[in-house]
């Protein structure tokens, strides 16, 4: 019985924490179905008004004052997040492979150069990066939106750590079996790093989806508004803000990253528990 009372305290703390995290999301869901003026007054009921669900269809198709239809923004966001996640993985797999498994002149110099970019994220070099994109005539383009965010070292470092843990004998066994460098990367290294790739994909997708500063700067064309930018644009300075639409958009913006985390989590937890190495 002593045990039971002891368990009560952690449970209480956990329940409190869950409420703390879940309540704002619930308020957004409930609020999205209610009257905009009531929300503006601070009068949000915690019970959703089911007849107000039409607002989702409305924002998806027509958007709100100050921002275009949300389906478009979601598409831009998804494109950007996927391009960043896949781009970074595609770039860092070979670069980590090179610095880990091959001896070439200035190998460590190359590694430290890659490492250095960790200290210089886009936010730090915002103005020069904008200058470069502008010179390349990439302002207001999907390429300009994604390329600067793809080039970074985080993924390279993570893959390097993964690759360093691969036993030498595995590399040697493959050499004796006759697998060349690219074949080894494709047949052995990438499959056994599957769990890490999945984990990294989740992190990078969420990172890409949540980008705000760079898209704000580089894409002024409303066609390239991401869903994060759209939310900001909906909160009008001069016009009356349609708070129910803002909340509906926020809920819609939440769904894809949550879905990716949930779907991929099953996959990479499976990979981790089956212990590939």
């Amino acid at each position: 019985m002593r045990r039971r009372t002891l368990n009560l305290i952690p449970h209480a703390v956990m329940i409190l924490a869950i409420l703390l995290f879940a309540l704002p999301i619930w308020i957004a869901i409930a609020g999205s179905t209610q009257d905009s003026a009531a929300i503006a007054r601070g009068d949000v009921s915690l019970i959703p008004n089911l007849s107000g669900l039409g607002v989702y269809r409305d924002v998806l198709m027509n958007g709100s004052a100050g921002a275009g239809p949300v389906w478009r923004a979601l598409l831009v966001s998804a494109g950007m997040a996927l391009a960043i996640a896949f781009g970074k993985i595609a770039l860092s797999l070979p670069s980590a492979y090179a610095v880990t498994f091959f001896r070439f002149p200035f190998r460590m110099a190359a590694f430290w150069l890659i490492f250095l970019t960790l200290m210089l994220p886009v936010e730090v070099r915002l103005i020069p990066t904008f200058q470069v994109m502008s010179s390349l005539d990439l302002i207001n383009s999907f390429t300009g939106l994604t390329i600067p965010l793809i080039a970074s070292a985080t993924a390279t470092l993570l893959f390097r750590q993964t690759f360093l843990a691969v036993p030498d004998e595995l590399v040697e066994a493959a050499r004796i079996d006759g697998a060349g460098p690219l074949r080894f990367l494709r047949d052995i290294l990438i499959p056994i790093s599957g769990a890490n790739i999945a984990a990294l994909f989740v992190i990078l997708f969420v990172y890409g989806w949540n980008q705000y500063l760079w898209p704000l700067l580089v894409a002024t064309d409303p066609k390239l508004d991401t869903v994060v930018i759209s939310i900001v644009k909906m909160i009008g300075v001069d016009t009356a803000t349609e708070w129910n639409k803002v909340m509906a958009t926020a809920v819609l913006a939440l769904i894809p990253p949550v879905a990716v985390v949930l779907l991929m989590q099953r996959w990479f937890v499976k990979g981790l528990t089956e212990g590939d190495k």
């Binding site: 004998e169 040697e172 079996d177 006759g178 052995i188």
Partner: protein, 361 residues
């Protein structure tokens, strides 16, 4: 034709010379075990033969073909690693088939080869499993299977049994021997375990600090160790090595205050020459008229017991005798002359008798 031939093989890492000139020839189908303490260069030697390391000097020939400058995959070899090095994401079948797939063999042929190898190793029921679902012994078999399907000119074993428990090691040791005999593939087997070395090899190569010190059959290495290093390394517990002086025209060694007769042996060195007398613990006999040694520790091994005798700071003597033999605080022992080995104290090399020596092959 020689299955494997090494000529003047040297390997240095920076200024650190690991292999200091190794010459070796293996007959076709022979199994040679390389044994030595860690750091003696035995693994480096194997890796140079495999092509995973490039030699600093010397040539490697496999089945009469110079392969020194060839890639590992072009040498027609197969290697079994200590940690098995199975591809963790592939099934047992794919692990065995991978090398064949890369070589572009037709699917049916791959299937046939893998089926034959897995039948030989008793792996038929496990072909769809992943390595992590296998026990240590099964993984070891898959690693063997991967080597067998290649049908290579040369098998290389790098301490393949070190990761197994004692019982399984004995069983797999037998299996490897049977397989090698049956397949008649020239094999190089590296181990630090002297029991494996004695039981597996047609011949034994003892290495010490990058140099081969003795190449002979296991019986020969045991009966006539080439120097004090081999004498101390092969045999468990190690051979007793007692410093002494030669006397009586080379027919006697004076150890401490006892004269030990060499029997019919006679050594061609002046009296007073410093030597080391060697006798294995299992060859020392209790003898009421022999020299006296105080007993320090007794260890019971079951059927036998080990008696450690000697005074602290002086030469020590180990005996292996039948368990239950009554002992007092001091024992009297003698050394049968047929089992005495004599080495030069300065060089450590074995002295050969110029008279009639002990009758051992």
């Amino acid at each position: 034709m020689a299955g494997l031939q090494l000529d003047g093989l040297r390997k240095s890492f920076g200024s650190n010379e690991i292999l200091k000139g190794v010459d070796l020839a293996l007959a076709d189908g022979e199994m040679l075990v390389i044994v030595g303490a860690s750091g003696c260069g035995k693994s480096t030697l194997l890796r140079v033969v495999a092509g995973l390391e490039t030699p600093t000097a010397g040539r490697v020939q496999i089945d009469g073909r110079d392969v020194t400058d060839l890639d590992p995959s072009a040498r027609d070899i197969a290697m079994v690693f200590q940690n098995y090095a199975l591809y963790p994401h592939m099934s047992v079948f794919d692990n065995m088939a991978y090398g064949l797939k890369i070589r572009g063999l037709p699917r049916a042929e791959i299937r046939a080869k893998v089926d034959a190898a897995s039948a030989l190793l008793g792996l038929e029921a496990l072909l769809e499993r992943k390595p992590r679902q296998l026990s240590g012994g099964q993984r070891q078999r898959v690693a063997m299977g991967r080597a067998i399907v290649r049908d290579p000119k040369l098998f290389l074993f790098d301490e393949p049994l070190s990761n197994l428990d004692a019982k399984l090691r004995v069983q797999m040791r037998g299996e490897i021997r049977r397989l090698q005999r049956r397949l008649k593939v020239t094999s190089l087997y590296v181990t630090h375990d002297q029991v494996e070395a004695m039981t597996l090899g047609d011949r034994l190569l003892v290495m010490h600090q990058g140099v081969p010190v003795q190449l002979a059959t296991p019986t020969e290495v045991y009966a006539r160790p080439a120097d004090t290093y081999v004498a101390g390394f092969i045999g468990s517990p190690a051979m007793n090595l007692l410093p002494g002086l030669l006397g009586r025209n080379g027919t006697m060694v004076r150890v401490a205050d006892a004269d030990i007769d060499l029997g019919p042996q006679r050594l061609d060195r002046p009296d007073g020459h410093p030597v080391i007398l060697g006798i294995r613990p299992e060859h020392v006999v209790l003898d009421a008229s022999g020299m006296t040694w105080p007993v320090e520790v007794v260890e019971h091994l079951g059927a036998e017991m080990l008696v450690h005798a000697g005074r602290p700071g002086e030469a020590a003597l180990t005996l292996k005798i039948a368990n239950g033999t009554p002992l007092s605080d001091a024992i009297r022992v003698s050394f049968p002359s047929a089992h005495i080995h004599v080495f030069d104290q300065a060089t450590g090399l074995r002295f050969e008798s110029i008279g009639s020596g002990p009758s051992s092959s």
